[in-house]
């Protein structure tokens, strides 16, 4: 291990934070410089991340690569332990790619009331928090990164959001904080139960797999930890902050929220809750499955009732994350692979959908489906076309990225893990519910397209001088569109990366 390999992921992760400080120091009137810096910083971090992904040894059996485990706070046994494995790599890289694309988008669109410096600085802070969560292998470090995203997102929604922004921002903050404090309590409980006391995720995994924790302890602790993750995902019925936050957030905020932040919750289940507390996971799995099935159907029904385009996409997120959680609940390698695939695909597709809605709003200055009134394809053929393409990807058309996560999740719930053999019937019911959900999903997306894209342009917009997709949009969108197709055709791009790590993680539940 040379010094570069040890520190590379930390450099990539903290580069945005340093960049945020630099941006704060730039004089206010240098608007172009600030936006340029935003692109350069995120690009540099992304280059390192992608470089490491190329450097990543995919055949290696080593649990962690680019690992760094050094002292941080000896007084409480917290260590700075970071590393990457197949599960975290796709999400970690996705964080940098999406942030970079957001920075490009910001070159043209800084939402009202401006303040580009603060906007980009907060976005970069957010990037560090999100990226750090995916590489932390110490529970205290994990928690710090986890909470680091709260404050920037609060201000992104609260300052640059739409009318109801303050309410949405505080609701987001309180809700997530409420979940995460119980998560912290769970972490501390694990620390004190493990012998010797440790916050290290790998050591706790080994301890948990060796049956170190009693069943009662696992049930209670899993509940506490899962609450924190469930709010973040968000699982039904903890989802109510999400539609508000998404609807009010600026475009970039929504993209990063849907694209990455929600994944922190599902990632937490896979990384922390399942492997450390296997018996707890087993006991809760049917309930998680049930909540996921409800989420899928509920979200689809809610989408059918939405009048606001952005709120509709937000509710569709709840449904998609339901598929991800259903995959996790099965405790099978296929299910977890499906979940990670679903996370990445949802990040790309829903991120892209929020970009589209943001651009539609930028032109029409309304998000009400009725006010847009149809004819998007006629008025703005490129934007309309992209919007249609991404919507169809989102409803799970085979050959596009959205398909694999959902179908694998349904597949895995047909035969859940060996330890859940008593509940096979139940999981098949969930599968049927999920299947109904996919039909409803197709229904509301197509109905939405019918109302927004099809038809003729209403009188009031006919002469409006709307520009079609502009350069900054093309540059930030094309990579996402390419990735959506590529992952649809070659799902191995993700599953090949995750499979090894997932297999070794899920051996616990083979039963």
């Amino acid at each position: 291990m040379n010094a570069w390999e040890e520190s590379a992921i930390s450099i990539a992760t903290f580069l945005p934070l340093v960049g945020a400080l630099v941006i704060v120091l730039v004089p206010k009137d240098k608007e172009r410089l600030v936006r340029g810096l935003g692109i350069v910083i995120t690009a540099a971090a992304m280059v390192i991340a992608v470089g490491l992904a190329i450097d990543f040894d995919y055949g290696s059996g080593a649990p962690l690569q680019f690992e760094l485990n050094t002292r941080w706070i000896p007084a409480i046994d917290a260590r700075y332990h970071v590393g990457i494995d197949g599960i975290s790599l796709p999400l970690w890289v996705l964080t940098f790619v999406l942030s970079f694309l957001c920075a490009i988008y910001t070159w043209r669109y800084v939402p009202s009331p401006g303040k580009t410096k603060a906007f980009l600085a907060l976005m970069l802070m957010l990037e560090t928090g999100m990226a750090g969560t995916f590489i932390a292998f110490d529970l205290v470090l994990f928690f710090i990164f986890w909470e680091l995203v709260l404050v920037p997102m609060y201000f992104l929604i609260g300052i640059w959001g739409s009318e109801n922004r303050e309410y949405a921002a505080i609701k987001f903050f309180l809700y997530t904080l409420f979940g995460s404090v119980f998560m912290l309590l769970g972490f501390l409980a694990m620390y004190f139960r493990a012998a010797p006391h440790t916050f290290d995720i790998l050591e706790l995994q080994a301890y948990g797999a060796g049956g170190g924790f009693t069943r009662t302890f696992q049930l209670i602790t899993f509940g506490a930890v899962a609450l924190g993750f469930a709010v973040k995902v968000p699982m039904w019925p903890f989802h109510t902050w999400l539609p508000d936050a998404h609807t009010e957030a600026p475009t970039i905020g929504s993209v990063l929220l849907a694209g990455i932040m929600l994944k922190m919750g599902t990632y937490g289940f896979v990384r922390v809750a399942l492997p450390i507390l296997p018996e707890g996971a087993q006991a809760y799995a049917p309930w998680i499955g049930l909540l996921s099935a409800i989420a899928i159907v509920y979200a689809a029904l809610a989408c059918l009732a939405q009048k606001d385009l952005k709120r509709l996409i937000a509710f569709s997120s709840v449904g998609h994350m339901g598929f991800v959680m259903l995959g996790i609940a099965t405790l099978t390698p296929i299910g977890i692979n499906a979940a990670i695939f679903g996370m990445v695909a949802h990040g790309l597709i829903t991120g892209m959908l929020f970009f589209c809605v943001g651009s539609v709003y930028d032109r029409y200055h309304t998000r009400q489906i009725a006010e847009i009134g149809g004819g998007l394809m006629q008025k703005l053929p490129y934007l309309g076309g992209i919007f249609a393409f991404v919507s169809i990807a989102s409803l799970g058309l085979p050959g596009l990225a959205g398909f694999w996560g959902e179908v694998m999740a349904l597949l895995s719930s047909y035969s859940p893990a060996g330890v859940l053999s008593d509940q096979v019937g139940l999981f098949r019911v969930f599968m049927v519910a999920g299947g109904i959900g996919t039909i409803l999903t197709a229904g509301y997306f197509l109905w939405m397209l019918q109302r927004v894209n099809m038809g003729t342009v209403p009188e009031e917009w006919r002469d409006a001088p709307f520009p079609d997709v502009v350069a900054a949009e093309w540059v930030s969108w094309v990579p996402l569109l390419v990735a959506i197709v590529a992952l649809g055709i070659f799902p191995r791009l993700i599953i090949g990366v995750t499979d090894g790590a997932v297999e070794s993680l899920m051996r616990l539940f083979a039963g």
Partner: protein, 487 residues
Amino acid sequence: MNQVIDYHAILPELILSGTIVLVLFVDAFLKERSWFAMPLALTGVVASLIATLTLVGEHRSTFGDSFVVDDFAVMFKLFFLSVAIVVLAISLRYFRDGGSYQGEYYFLLLTSFLGCLMMPSSRDLLVLFISLELVSAPGFLMAAFRKTDLRSNEAGLKFFLIGVLSTAVMLYGMSLMYGVTGATNLAQIGVALAGDLEQGKETLALAAILFITVGFGFKVSAVPFQFWAPDTYEGAPVPVAAFLATASKAAGFAGLLQLMFVAFPAQFEFWTPIFAVLSILTMTIGNFVALQQRQAVRLLAYSSIAQAGYMLLPFALVTADQAANQDVFAASTTYILIYAVMTLGAFAVVTALSRESRALPISDFDGLAKRAPVLTVAMTVFMLALAGIPPMGGFWAKFLVFRVAVERGGIGVALAVIMLVNSVVSIAYYLAIPRAMIFQAPQRERPFASPVLVTGVTFVAMVAVVAIGIYPELLAHFPPLSTLVGP
């Protein structure tokens, strides 16, 4: 008995006493330039700080073991003197522009700090009592220092009446304790209480502990003895409120820590439930009432009540296990220190604003982000830190308390859950001021003029809060926090 006084041990106090006398003369002889009292006071405090630094690592005792200098005492002394520097810095312009008697104010302030300085060294009921009164008595006068303002008069009077009442209760407890044990020295009381007590004396001792705890409950504004705090903080000059919320409160805790861990540890089964109830009530009522506040200082007052609840929580976790008690002790002490930094910072920002707004409703913070960006960022940091959001220093303070609570198990976990819920609730009001500063439109357009010293200490406090947050190991470089506890 021929007493030999260890002058090195009391050097910091001696220097401060000398300064106090000098400051008193400023008003008499330098009428035109009475603000000169502040640099003079500052010099004395810094000299005292240097004298304290020479005591680091020492273990000395004098006056027949009733005045002890050890790691615990030195750490608290350094802390109080640092607080004194900050309070002096934010006082200068406030009192110079306010047209009060400045020499008198600095005299009173330093006298209070002299009490603070003595407090962590007091290992005798009598010295403890004198220290405490030395902290409080000048406080009554300082709270009423804006003589023409009715609210300030109310502040002083309320503080005085409650202070006297609590003193009486405490003194009664102390006299009972002397009656039971025949000693005023804390260590000797500890030995006496750990031995076998006769039936009647046992009850009497418990009553004494209860009375003393109640007396200190007033000082640290624990519910149900808190109601003076919001009115007093609101009416007092803002720098005085800063003093009351930090140094005065910390002095109360320093005394409480010594009493509980040195004199009364044997009776922990009696007093831990009392502290559990006090802690729950204090944090919950403090937080929920804070939600209703529309005035900045009152909000900070209720915040300081709620925070006192978190600091009291570790007291409820004491057991017979000395090793665990060390962690408990360290958690409480660390919380007090970090709390004081955050709160001082917040009060510094409020002091800056008080120049253009006497009444200080939160709406007067509207749009400050445009006019005073540094103060806005700093205030946001302090508020998030007080709420315990990482990566701010306040998170670790809470983390350490959670940690000992979970380690204790049983009642500890229940207390931790209550504290967690309280922390979440608290974010709703802690964000009120940043929200006004950042989300609202400014009421005035002209640039905000903040005194250099105030901006300076605000900035330093902000850096400290963030530095502790990122690298909490900084605190571990303090002398061991647990010298009072253990074998």
